[in-house]
Symmetry: C2
Subunit: 496 residues, 2 copies
């Protein structure tokens, strides 16, 4: 019997262990989810909202216990983790409300005409969703994070895989969720958990699973994507992976260099640099002292990062060496916690000419590491942007006047390459609102038209079905003439 | 220099030939499209509608010439083809109007709050789209069909591949479109054509191509899908392929057997059975004389089908043999055109027990061939439905009373397995309206959440971008406060 061992990043010691799910256990969890799928699909959005609300309440009722357990396993700190419990609870309620609003159902009715029959189109839940949460946000992107909340909101059962970086927390969250869902009347099987690497593989291959949500590394996300593409029935994999998120300074931004440097350091070292939205590169006009200013700001901030896992700590250190090997020079370094899985925060500098195809400078270095890349002129800058992979977010740093002459072209340029463009606003935070887009071109995500955060996240778990000449009484409730769920509809082409 | 040869299905003789595009020519066409992409993206929907309108006018102005040329190459008949030219023109105008309506832009604005920045989300065109049209609808699903029209409507340039079954027509349509687009002010490169199998492969692999639309066989669609998945930058492939579309008779429907049999024969032999929406299987209660009635209706209708290509004719005949080898018995056969690429229309019958995994009965037989499968009881019927692949359409054939006790459960069952459910209405026709869903679970399509026909077809060619704290003047026009394109918006969560 294999187990998943839990470690304490603070000192690298073992915190506990959980038995991995056997193939039989995985199959049983998937069967329960598949059995529940009819009941979760036919429940009304209001009923599902009650389920999600119960889970949210369970989180806030146990906030202190959960934050403590999470801190033991992640070292992210009680303040941040307590806040993240509240965020996860708020997200559950938000997705529940988006479910009730009902636009995601896309109800569209075309009355019969002389040449075409009556057609009614409505989105239907796909069925059981496998959720692979992230290491770096144990609550907001964990087993009860955005993926789980948005899937349940549209009526898809969820089978989550426990994250090895916080397996004890994953198990505890699953217990709380299962109890809360049962008490709120959700069908047995609406939520389940599996543990272990092999269990995760089995989950993606299980015929009963209809879609996959993933947040994590490119290697992990692409492995699941490939696995899903080899199934008899290929299923969608929404993998949010992340790459280097560029921040681009205009010439005018040099006028407020110290501010920019401090902001950049704060953003790339937040959460020990373990954000998929970390700005990993600052493209700056040459001839200023941008790299030095960023280096000074780092020394001043003096973070001493502790990483989520031993592997992440080692890979951040190796990443710095790889960047140096690719032509970057080290500008500044802080750290020195020493105990546990500490890493150094590092600022490097490189010329834009180093960004040639295949260079490690074009790859994400997960951790508190960033590169200042100096460009000679706008053409050089645009070549550098074009050399980068598509990414989740891109930032334009202007002179702050609101009329920087370079800003317009840069916003338009980045919009072709990223999922979110920010201006004079660091990209690290991701609000869970209606307009959010947390996604981006391949390989930042496997599905650039999708978002894993925000109201549109619900759209990942449904598929439209058109009902032609079907009597009203035989339609799904959302599509019926009397509109019992009071959802927005488009009738004969007009939104109502 | 290789060529694509055009044949006349009526007599199998050569109608002409077109030189295949060289790799250099493909690269040049893609470069022109990529160069045009900025101009097509920044044009307003009204400007793009003018371009599409000009193409539509060119089609109707040349309807007679085009229908004649198409008939030479496809043998589908002047009446049907003249109607299809009109349909293609109407589709171009429909997608243009959907583009102007603007819901596809998904404009969403969240004002700044104490805890979140101002976010504006708007869909942006992906860039150049490669379009692989169908053999069976040279206009409506051809180089100027649904894919091309919906892509241009959102501002994506199109590079179409000429279909080998109507290569002369493809070239002529491309000429007309290019001239009309230029005259209407569209940028050079907004539309291009390539010819030849290798050119098609090169197109999907070209870095300048951002997405692929395909209509055709499972083998062809999946080959392109695999190719796109092996690119450095993986791109979406919207392949509409098709499988067996089941029609399911209730016990009560036996009361109007002759009607049902005639309707079924009319539907599965329409266009020589060369519809992706052809109902290939009629699941009927055992003990009636359903198979015999369908056989009689076929003999009465007495079609003598001519197929689009020699290969399709041969493969329809081979398909019948494969079905017989799989345990089906031949009930009736008509045909006898003899000349050219004729095929027989065939009705077969099989017991539901023959639908075991791997059976050829579960695979689409493209052509005027259908199988009546008899089931013993509802459980047997549901097992048979479950044995089938996901499909584009599924039909429930009831007693016609509007209160058939079996209808409700069958509609719900088929909705889990198809993209469109029809009741007492044959599925062959596909209206291009707001509510249409022409898609279905894998492997009927490669992207079950997408549709290749109807207003939602535009959504395939865009990706959302969120603008965070971006000054209004730097936003794309559709997202600006003054809403110059007058598109529907969601502001602070409310549709306006």
């Amino acid at each position: 019997m294999s187990t998943t061992v839990s470690y304490r990043p603070a000192d690298g010691q073992v915190a506990g262990a959980v038995e991995d799910s056997t193939p039989e256990q995985v199959a049983a969890v998937v069967t329960r989810a598949a059995t529940a799928a009819t009941a979760t699909a036919t429940a009304s959005p209001a009923e599902r909202a009650a389920w999600l609300g119960a889970v949210a309440t369970a989180l806030t009722d146990h906030a202190e216990e959960l934050a403590r357990l999470a801190d033991t396993e992640t070292g992210l700190g009680l303040v941040r983790l307590t806040g993240e419990v509240a965020r996860a609870a708020a997200q559950l309620r938000f997705y529940a409300s988006v479910g009730i609003e009902g636009s995601w159902l896309g109800v569209t009715v075309d009355g019969a005409t002389d040449t075409s029959p009556r057609l009614v189109r409505v989105n239907q839940p796909l069925g059981p969703v496998a959720v692979f949460g992230a290491s770096n946000f144990p609550f907001a992107f964990g087993v009860l994070g955005n993926d789980t909340a948005s899937a349940l909101a549209v009526g898809c059962p969820v089978v989550a895989k426990a994250h090895p970086a916080h397996v004890l927390l994953s198990v505890r969250l699953a217990e709380l969720a299962s109890d809360a869902l049962a008490a709120a009347g959700a069908p047995d099987g609406a939520f389940g958990l599996v543990v272990g690497m092999d269990a995760g593989t089995a989950l993606v291959c299980a015929p009963g699973i209809s879609a996959v949500g993933f947040t994590g590394s490119q290697a992990g996300g692409l492995a699941l994507w490939r696995l899903a593409n080899e199934r008899d029935i290929v299923i969608p994999v929404y993998a949010e992976m992340g790459t280097v998120n560029p921040a681009v300074m205009t010439a005018g931004a040099r006028g407020r260099l110290e501010d920019v440097a401090r902001g950049f350091v704060g953003s790339f070292t937040l959460g020990s640099g373990q954000f998929c939205t970390k700005p990993g590169m600052l493209l700056a006009p040459a001839g200023g002292d941008v790299a030095d200013a960023v280096g000074r700001a780092l020394v001043e901030a003096a973070p001493s990062p502790v990483m989520l896992t031993e592997r992440i700590a080692a890979s951040a250190a190796a990443g710095v060496e790889r960047l140096v090997g690719a032509g970057a020079r080290e500008v500044a370094r802080t750290g020195g916690a020493g105990a546990g899985w500490s890493a150094d925060a590092v600022v490097l500098a490189a010329p834009a000419s180093a960004l040639h195809p295949g260079s490690p400078l074009l790859e994400e270095c997960f951790g508190p590491v960033a590169v200042v890349v100096e460009y000679d002129d706008p053409a050089d800058r645009d070549r550098a942007i074009g050399a980068l992979q598509g990414s989740l977010a891109g930032t334009v740093v202007t002179d702050g006047s609101g009329a920087d002459p370079e800003a317009g072209a840069l916003v338009a340029r980045l919009a072709r390459q990223v999922g979110r463009v920010t201006v004079d606003d660091w990209p690290t935070g991701v609000a869970w609102t209606w307009a959010q887009q947390h996604g981006g071109p391949w390989p930042a995500t496997s599905a650039p038209a999708a978002t894993s955060v925000g109201a549109a996240a619900l759209g990942r778990w449904v598929r439209p079905v058109c009902f032609q000449s079907v009597p009203d009484a035989l339609l799904p409730p959302a599509a019926r003439e009397d509109n019992p769920w009071r959802v927005p509809r488009r009738v004969d082409g007009e939104l109502r």
